[in-house]
Structures are given as structure tokens and as C-alpha cells.
Amino acid sequence: MIKLSNVTKKYGNFVAVDSISMDIKQGELMVILGPSGCGKSTTLRLINKMVTISEGDILVRGKNIVDIDDVELRKSIGYVIQSIGLFPHMSVEKNIATVPTLLNWEKETISKRIDKMLELVGLSPEKYKEKKPAQLSGGEAQRIGVARALAADPDILLMDEPFGAVDPINRLRLQREFRQIQQNLNKTVLFVTHDVEEALLIADRICIMNHGKIIQIGTPEEISINPKNEFVKEFFKGEGILSLLSRKKAIDYVIPRISNESKSANDFNLKEVITLLLTGEADELIFKEGHLTLNEISRALRGEINEFKE
């Protein structure tokens, strides 16, 4: 979907992005992760031509972006930034309608789309349509930012630390909900952040950058279990597989057994299960679908690690 080949960006003598190559597949949520100043935001903005390439090629949907008109390209890609950038003098309605209006959609279509987008991000259309950005909380504003980016139904989304300005409690909700939306709609997303936990929570693949270069690309599992170097290890705080536990669903590890229990393994991840086992009194947790013990979990995880190490 998006292919970068030896892309370099120089500002005078300073190399912001150093010959990076990556291939982002359709429907994938790729997180670009790295410390401040590593070139991740610049990389993002090279793709929608907000920054011009010094060397290398970028292909979007198979076409070299050099051959696509800047404005047309941007209208086909959703863009969400940290400061959100809602237009203060326009209502929520008009904000969301921005790109559809630029694309000359029918008024009726736009109106229905606005309602749909608001519902998508979990806000009631009647309540929020006429509000002004100044009347919104941080979390609400960023939801509208996402709704605005999705309004014209782009298949690609570029997001630059979109949840950075939101408080921690709301941030977790936004991250979970956004992941759900992305998976349901099968959008290709390039997501820039410096927050490791955020990356681990939502990414299909993570691309770690430092000093303008790609250090490692892989699934969260691959990177946690096989970090390429000290830098990557340090960045993930050496937690390795423990940091992945929140991504693993209990239903995938449960040992089937008929039971009368009502709670379902679908609603739990391994981190929560292990916490319950460690703090509870019983040696095993029983679900509708079966049971889990600490021993069984550790055996399964060790098996996985060994697979990776091969």
C-alpha cells in the first residue's frame, strides 16, 4: 500500500531521515516508534508531501508520489495531528465535513456521513454536531479529529502522536476504541508515537527508528523477544515478553473443559488472568470455555518464545 525505498531527507547538512525502506501492507496498523528527534514525524510527513523528499522514492497505492498532485494526494489520505487543529470558527459539523466538501459531495451525503462519523467515534450526533471546538474536552476534540480524518473514507490514515495531548485515562480508551475502528474498517494506518505501551497496545507491526535510521521492524512479539540491539532492549525497558501479555487473549490459551461458569475467556487478556491468579486464592481460573493455571500459561509462553528464538 505504501512503499518507501531508500528515502532520505536532508536539511542542509543535517540528515533527518537516512535511507529508510519499508513496506506497509494494506489494512495494517504500522507504528513508527522512537525517541524525540529520531525522524519519525518527518517520515510521516514525507508520505503526504508536507515535506519534500531529498532522495529515494515513495509509492502510495503503487504510484510514485512525485507523479501525484500534492492536494489530490492529501485529500485521499486522512491526517491527524497531536494539536488536533480543529477550526475554531466552525462547528463540529463543518469541521468534519471539510474534506467531503472539498471533494464536492452532495449535501445529503455529507450530512449523513457526519452523523455516521460521530457515532463511529462514540459521540452523539444531536449533542455534538452544533458544538464549537472551544466547548469540547481534550478527549472529545481528538475524537472529532479522527472523525474528520475518516470523513471522506480514505483507505490510508497518517497519525502523528494523535493521543499525546489527551489525559492518560482518556488516552487508554481512545487507543482501544481506535484500534477497534481500524480493524473493523480495515484502514491502513501509519501511526507515529514515542510511547512504547501505546505501540504495544495497538500495533500490527512496529518500526523502531533512531537518528533517522530504521533499527528494527517487526511484530511486537518479534521485537520484544528478539530485540536487535541494546537500544531496542532499553527502549522496551527490557520487559520482553511481559509487555506483550496485554495483547494476548485468554481465549487463545484456555484449556477446554466443560463448566458452569458464566464469565467468558473472550473478555480477558493474559495480563489480567495472571494478575488474578497471583492475587487470588485459587490455583486455577475457570471460564465458560475452560480453565487456566499459572503452570499452563508459562508452558505455553515458553513454547512461543522458543519458536521465536529459532
Binding site: 495531528i81 488536533i84 470558527h89 464549537k132
Partner: protein, 382 residues
Amino acid sequence: MIKSEDKQIVAVGILSILNFIFLPFIRIKPNRISMGELIGSIELLGLNVIVIILLWAIIIALSFYAKKWRYLLQMLGAIGIGISIIIMIPAQSKEYLSSPSSRISLSSGFYMQLLWIYLVLIIGNKNIKSRRLLKTLINLVPIGIIFYIFSAGLLDDFSIVKEFVSKKNQFFDNLRIHSALTIFSVLTGIIISLPLGFIAYKKRSYENKIMLPLSIIETIPSLSLFGILLVPLSKLGRIGFLNDLGISGIGWAPAYIALTLYTLLPIGRNTLAGFSSVDKGAIEAAKGMGMKPLEILFKIELPLAFPVIFTGIRIAFTQTIGGAVLAGLVGGGGLGTFVFLGLAEASPDLILLGVIPIVILTIGIDILLKISGEAIRSGIYD
């Protein structure tokens, strides 16, 4: 007595009564030039002073009542005092006006009354929060009444009115010139400095190069600027077609140019400030979503910058109405003509004939522009 406003009104009332009784009230002049004699209120109005003093006493007394509507009554009372005085003065002066050229000039006692009445209106205005209609009425009705009395001819013995009557055509001519000078100077200023301010915003490197000269111009004293313009303009004025237009070292040309130059800073600086105040995130988002530069300018930057720019224009207007007085010094016409004429002939009432309309115009335009600005602002913000 509850609030500090009440104490203020009591103080105003007491001072007012004292001023009224002890300060010279009017001055009767047998003709334009002579100093005439000062006459006190008691001598002029006789027993009628009791009416005025009584009204003030009622206003003072109302401060002690804890009712909400006392402010309204106080304001009405103050207006009543003002109108009564204005009607009483010419009525009671008949015996002093010995010849057709005799005239009434106003002295400190009268002006102080105006001040205290005005203070009561301000203090009262603060406290009636409801009903804009009522507020507007209270502010406009006295003006209306005075205008009516004026047109009924009751004020004809006042010297300022005599000056007006004798110079009626000249007055309206100069009023027109003054207004035209103001409007054209500000419009020219807008055409020149709005783009300049915008350029200063777009190219940071130009910001100082543009703003510095404008600031320097602003610091040049007006008369010096006229002096500076004198030589080049008179040279230009010798060229045939320019001469026909009326361009010369004196007249409308230096006035127009100087006034335009003075509007450049407020408009230019506010344009720069207005555009700079636009949220950079909004512009980044607009660009990233696929808006073209012109679309961003008209849909995002201009609407958001407009309130500040409009304020700059409003400042330019109020500044220019006053500044246009100096056109009178160089033969450019306008209300300043009366001001300088009055100075030359030592006739304070002629000066007032120039000054009072300027004050009224300035206040009027300021209010008008403030209201329009608000209307446009709420239109932009929906």
C-alpha cells in the same frame, strides 16, 4: 447606603450643589470678541435654583434607599437637571441680552454640572444590567431632546449656536471635507498596509523591514510631517496636470498623505498580529487535509484574523478623525478650520464649533464600528 456606587453618587451630588451655587455659571458677551461678564447661577436663575438643588437632593436621598430601581430614577433625575438647565438659561437670560449680537457663553459652573450629570449616568449605567432597550433609550433620549430644543430655536442665544448660524454653509462644507478626508485616508491606508501586514506575516524575514518604518512614521509629530511634505509637494504641484488636481504644499494633499501615513501602523500591525494569532495547528491540519493555499487563506486564516484586523481599522478611524483637524492648519478644510480660526481670533466658542462635532463624530464612529465588528465576528463564528 449599601454599595460604593451609592457613596459615589452622594459625593457627586454634594459637589454638584456646591459647584452650582459657587462657581460662575454663564458669561454674557455683548459681542463676539469682548470678554463680557460672569454671572452666577443664583443671580441668573433666581428662585429657580431651588428646583435644581432639590433635584440633586432627591438624587442624594435615593442613594439611601435599598431599592433596585433607585439608579434608574437617579439617572432620569440627572437627565432632567441637564435639560432643565439648558432650557432655563436662555429663558432667564433675556434681560441681559441688550443687543442682537449679545450672546451667552458657558462657564465653569455649567461645565461642572455637565460633568456631574455625566458621572451619575455612568455610575447608574453600571448598575442597570437588564434591558438593553432601556439603556439605549436613556443614552439616546437626552440627545434627541437637546436636538429638538436646538432646532426649535430655543438655543439661539448661545454663542456657539450663533457661530454656527453665521457660518452654516461653511460648517457643512467643512463637515463634508472632514469626513471625506477621514474616509479616503483610512481606505488608502487599508489598501496599502493590509497587504504589507500580510507579507510581514508570510515572510518572517520581512517583518522588521516592514514594521520598523511604519513605527518610525508614527513617531513623527504631525506638524513636522506636514512640514516635511511641504517642499516635495510644492515642487510636484508645479507640474501641469498635478497642479490641476490641486496638489501643492498646502491644501488637501499634505493632509491626505500625512493622515494616510498615520493609519499605516495600526492597520499593518493589527493585520500582522491578527494573522499571527491563528492557530498553527489548524493551518497544518488544513494543509494536510488537502486545502490549497488560497483556500486556507480565505476559509481559515482570514476569518480567524479578521476581528483583530478590524480593530486596527477602527483605531485608524478614530485616530484619523481627530488628526484631520490639522488639515485646517494647511488650508485643507475640515472642522479644524474653525479650531484654528477660533485660536487666531481668540474666540473660544468658534473653537468649540470645530471641536464638539469632532468629539461626536469620533464617539459615533467608534460605537458604530464596534457594533459592526461584533456583528461580523458572530457571523464568522456562526
